[in-house]
Amino acid sequence: MKLTLRVWRQKSPDVPGAMAAYEVDGISPDMSFLEMLDTLNEELILGGQEPVAFDHDCREGICGACSLVINGDAHGPERTTTCQLHMRSFRDGDTIDVEPWRAAAFPVVKDLVVDRSSFDRIIQAGGYVAVPTGAAPDAHATPVPKPDADFAFEHAECIGCGACVAACPNGSAMLFTSAKVNHLNVLPQGAPERESRVLEMVSTMDDEGFGGCTLAGECATACPKGIPLFSITSMNREFVRAARKRR
């Protein structure tokens, strides 16, 4: 396959960036999108040019490091992560636009790499359970009803990639935050911090400069892990409940 790529290039956070066009040839339809970018970078390095910086780690769809808005869609045209997107989703001769996640809370570090540490700070505000350390408890020590376990697991699937923020017209982190809140709030292990968790995480989310939710639904459409839009509904319920209890 022969493709034209238009890629966002930006040297550092405080210099202006621009789209730059590159031709890549000899792309196999079985390559992942990231392998295609590797091919481009090899050519750039051989030609003495600066390679395109982009985030990646596991390359198997579980770590949430890869990003990229491809032709206007977070993680591209398929509902998966960019590392699991294959070039067979494109056609020979296509022009593909590649941009970084765009949000005030995700500033560009370089080229396609953005700083997602705002997500880490939301997690630090309550995305954990306070437990005594020691040997792992027996798996059946704390019974969890099956529907609760399923609900928790559905939300635990969030890999913290930030596609929801990138897709949201308001740069809102509601889907991510709600996935984390719901995952722990429904479990007995998360019960002691049930109220403080949602209040602190929402408050940190606001402080980091993410926008509010207008229920446009773009986040849940973009999410590679299928976190449902109703996750936000559940967090809204948790928030009002916690605000009432914590007076």
Binding site: R6, G72, N170, G212, T214, M235, N236, V240, R246
Partner: protein, 234 residues
């Protein structure tokens, strides 16, 4: 010795809500639903126009006597007005503040543009602005009668017909009611999510109720200027 572990003042429930994007949205949802309930009652009252001037004007008179003798003359009407003003102001201020935040949270757009969300969703802000202008005009036109061409207090039927006899006023009302329909279509369903009552199982019901409410309210309110323009009500 036991020390106080917490000496700072806890924020009030209202303060906690208004200080966060999630809580501010709750205030919008509650005020929106109150306005929506009012609109249903308002429409049912307005449709009495089709039974003639006598019944419509009598209905207007009755509104002033609701709750008597417990309430003084017109008190019910004033209570309703105060509640509505509080709702409109809360809703509008929250909409403005949240919108400013939302725009600031996406300072750089994407080069590769594509349509996002549905038409009703994308027009909530400008539709809301049209509604705000409409509310101001509507009060000056038919409540205070400041801009009404006939302006005879106690004769709402005649005032209404005189107002809608001007095609541009009727046209503005119709545009505003279309904006209202779109606003309710996304707004009712949104409010259910904001208030935490939405779910996968209830989604179809909520979306259907939103569509029916939007359609009935828009068609109902639009029928008034249309009837005047066509001469069915004169």
């Amino acid at each position: 010795m036991a020390l106080d572990t917490r000496t700072d003042r806890r924020p009030s429930f209202a303060g906690l809500l208004w200080g966060s994007t999630v809580g501010k949205k709750t205030a919008m949802a509650v005020s929106g639903v109150v306005m929506l309930l009012y609109l249903v009652a308002h429409l049912l009252g307005n449709l009495k126009i089709f039974f003639g001037a006598g019944e419509f004007d009598a209905y207007g008179q009755w509104l002033r006597t609701v709750g008597e003798p417990f309430l003084h003359h017109e008190w019910f009407l004033w209570i309703a007005r105060v509640v509505l003003v509080v709702c409109v102001v809360t809703h509008g201020v929250a909409a403005y503040q949240l919108s400013r935040r939302d725009i600031a949270a996406r300072p750089t757009g994407y080069v590769h543009k594509r349509r996002r969300a549905s038409y009703a969703t994308r027009t909530m802000r400008w539709g809301g602005v049209i509604l705000a202008l409409f509310i101001v005009w509507h009060i000056l036109d038919l409540t205070t009668l400041t801009v009404n061409p006939r302006a005879e207090s106690g004769h709402p039927y005649e005032n209404l017909v005189a107002s809608f006899d001007r095609w541009y006023v009727a046209a503005f009302y119709i545009v505003a009611m279309l904006a209202l329909g779109l606003h309710i279509r996304h707004g009712f369903w949104s409010a259910a999510q904001t208030l935490g009552v939405g779910s996968r199982a209830r989604d179809r019901v909520l979306k259907t109720v939103a569509d029916v409410l939007a359609l009935v309210l828009t068609a109902g309110f639009v029928s008034l200027p249309v009837a005047v323009l066509c001469g069915w009500v004169s």
